[in-house]
């Protein structure tokens, strides 16, 4: 089986706090691999190191066998890695269309000359934009400003922006956070659909979702990897139960 992402001994210390320590992880191409753990376990920090937002204190990240440790974050979408943020992170005063268009343009324009062309010269990007927006169910809002959307719709837009990079590997940081139950179901369905075309590394709090859709689950606690396995193995793991119960 092909491992698209390999992480070795990844570590991040904030002063004396060790947010992530010595985590090893391999993501198999074409699967949904989830990372779970109690609040503050280090999941977002772990993601931020992969996506270049914060440089690791130690360890390495290999993507398609290339060492990408500490790469600046703007380089990753061009290599095929896109990230969806835990806290909704869109362009508020721009329309839904502009939000997604800009993301597609970023990874699809070939030369700097394209920067100076007219916005109307990019038919393929226009079409892709509409398709992606329709995939996340926001077609009726396409010309509204992002700030005018509801929270749930902004989460969907966040996802659409991420998909605009046409990535091979999707990093999703709690895509269902703060969503109403119906919207959560919708998002779960979307992730399941996406898994047919993308490899997904998912952080998620809601257990039933993780158990339902993941192939492999990695459990972090206090920055360390304490368990890894199939949903069934994780469900029956004593260590995992302790970690979650111990915190409550």
């Amino acid at each position: 089986m092909n491992k698209i992402l390999k992480i070795q001994n990844l570590t991040k210390n904030f002063g004396s706090i060790s947010a992530v320590s010595n985590v090893n992880l391999e993501v198999e191409e074409g699967t949904i691999h989830s990372v779970i753990g109690p609040n503050g376990a280090g999941k977002s920090t772990f993601f931020n190191m992969i996506s270049g937002v914060i440089p690791p204190s130690n360890g390495s990240v290999y993507y398609k066998d290339k060492d990408i440790t500490g790469f600046e974050s703007f380089k990753l979408p061009h290599m095929g890695i896109a990230k969806c943020f835990q806290i909704t992170n869109v362009f508020p005063k721009l329309t839904v269309r502009e939000n997604v268009w800009a993301s597609i343009f970023s990874c699809s324009h070939k030369s700097k000359v394209d920067l100076f062309k007219s916005m109307n010269d990019f038919e393929t990007i226009d079409k892709d934009t509409e398709n992606i927006i329709s995939d996340v169910g926001l077609s009726h809002k396409i010309d509204d400003k992002a700030e005018e959307l509801s929270h749930g719709q902004q989460r969907m837009l966040e996802m659409a922006i991420t998909l605009g990079a046409k990535p091979d590997l999707l990093l999703l940081d709690e895509p269902t956070q703060g969503l109403a139950p119906e919207a959560t179901v919708e998002m779960t369905e979307l992730i399941r659909k996406l898994s047919k075309n993308y490899t997904i590394l998912l952080i998620e709090h809601k257990m039933h979702i993780v158990m339902e859709i993941s192939k492999i689950i990695t459990v972090l606690n206090f920055g360390e990897k304490i368990e890894e396995g199939t949903p069934n193995q994780i469900k029956n793991s004593k260590k995992v139960q302790d970690a979650y119960l111990g915190r409550k």
């Binding site: 937002v53 974050s73 979408p77 896109a82 362009f91 508020p92 800009a102 394209d114 062309k117 922006i161």
Partner: protein, 319 residues
């Protein structure tokens, strides 16, 4: 789109009517600082970067073009060389400035401005120091009032069209992404620092172009044109007009130059009045004069629509 069409029509009308409303030197100054403010807005309004050093580019370019004209070079060489000079200096200075954000960015641009001012001040042999660079002659073919006006308005239109092309290109969208959310722009693959540098350079290069023309108005370059107070004026004019629209800053320039011309005759302490006006605009009309006009226009439209609607109701009743 409709909004832009109306503004461009208004602009063309202004270009025809302007020379009859204002004295020759005043209208030329309005167009030249129009280029400065509209280009500064690319950085300020579109990208969200406040530079307190734009007089550096305006002044330096004015010196280069003035010195070349004094040296006997033709105007059509002096303008491109001075503009290119601003471009190169902006890349160099911008490279350091965009490494920092917010207040630190402002301070850096300000510091560079001070540095260039100081050089101009002490380098008396070349710049004329405090006395200014004097004795620059306008070429004969633009010496008459009419030809000079045609020349400046052509240069102005060229700059406005070029800048409009930029804001309506993907590059213009990238600038807005940076203003809205620089982290997210980075996460979707844009090298934010690089694009900030481009934005800074575009604004500075066009400001340089304007500076190279400025020398023709009064046949001289006074040293205030490179002073940081001028950088303040540039920001003031841009904000006063409104950073929310492409041509908004031009309204600020016209208003500012007209008001300061008017008040400076009446009262020597006129900057006081400008200060009060500035405070009012910043406190109550964040979008500047252009947004104020736009809102009035919208209100007028909705009222006329309403009366039309009422008329229709009346008509149907009558039928």
């Amino acid at each position: 789109m409709m909004k832009n069409k109306y503004s461009f029509i208004a602009l063309i009308i202004f270009l025809f009517v302007g020379p009859f409303l204002f004295p020759n030197a005043t209208i030329a100054e309005m167009l030249i600082f129009g280029i400065v403010a509209i280009s500064t807005n690319i950085m300020l309004g579109y990208t969200g970067m406040l530079s307190f050093g734009q007089a550096l580019f305006f002044g330096t370019s004015a010196y280069i073009s003035g010195l070349m004209l004094l040296g006997g070079f033709p105007l059509f060489l002096a303008i491109p060389v001075a503009t290119l000079g601003s471009f190169i200096i902006s890349l160099f200075i911008g490279y350091f400035c965009v490494k920092r954000e917010g207040l630190y960015f402002i301070c850096l641009t300000f510091a560079f401005n001070q540095m260039f001012y100081f050089i101009a001040y002490v380098w008396h042999d070349v710049t004329g120091g405090e006395d200014g660079l004097v004795g620059v002659e306008r070429p004969a073919y633009i010496d008459s009032q009419l030809t000079f006006y045609i020349f400046t308005s052509m240069m102005f239109l060229f700059a406005v069209i070029a800048l409009y092309k930029i804001v309506t290109s993907p590059l213009g969208l990238i600038f807005k992404l940076i203003r809205e959310n620089a982290n997210r722009a980075e996460a979707i693959g844009y090298n934010v620092r690089f694009y900030k540098l481009i934005s800074f350079s575009i604004a500075s290069t066009f400001t340089g172009l304007a500076g190279s023309l400025y020398v023709l108005i009064h046949s001289m370059v006074p040293i205030d044109q490179i002073h940081w107070l001028k950088s303040g004026d540039i920001i003031f004019m841009t904000l006063f007009g409104g950073v929310g629209s492409f041509l908004g800053p031009l309204i600020g320039v016209v208003g500012y130059i007209w008001l300061s011309d008017t008040f400076s005759i009446i009262w020597a302490r006129w900057p006081l009045i400008m200060g009060v006006i500035f405070a009012i605009v910043v406190l109550y009309f964040r979008g500047g004069v252009s947004e104020l006009l736009e809102n009035l226009f919208k209100k007028y439209k909705s009222i006329s629509k309403k009366t039309e609607h009422e008329q229709n109701i009346k008509n149907t009743k009558l039928n």
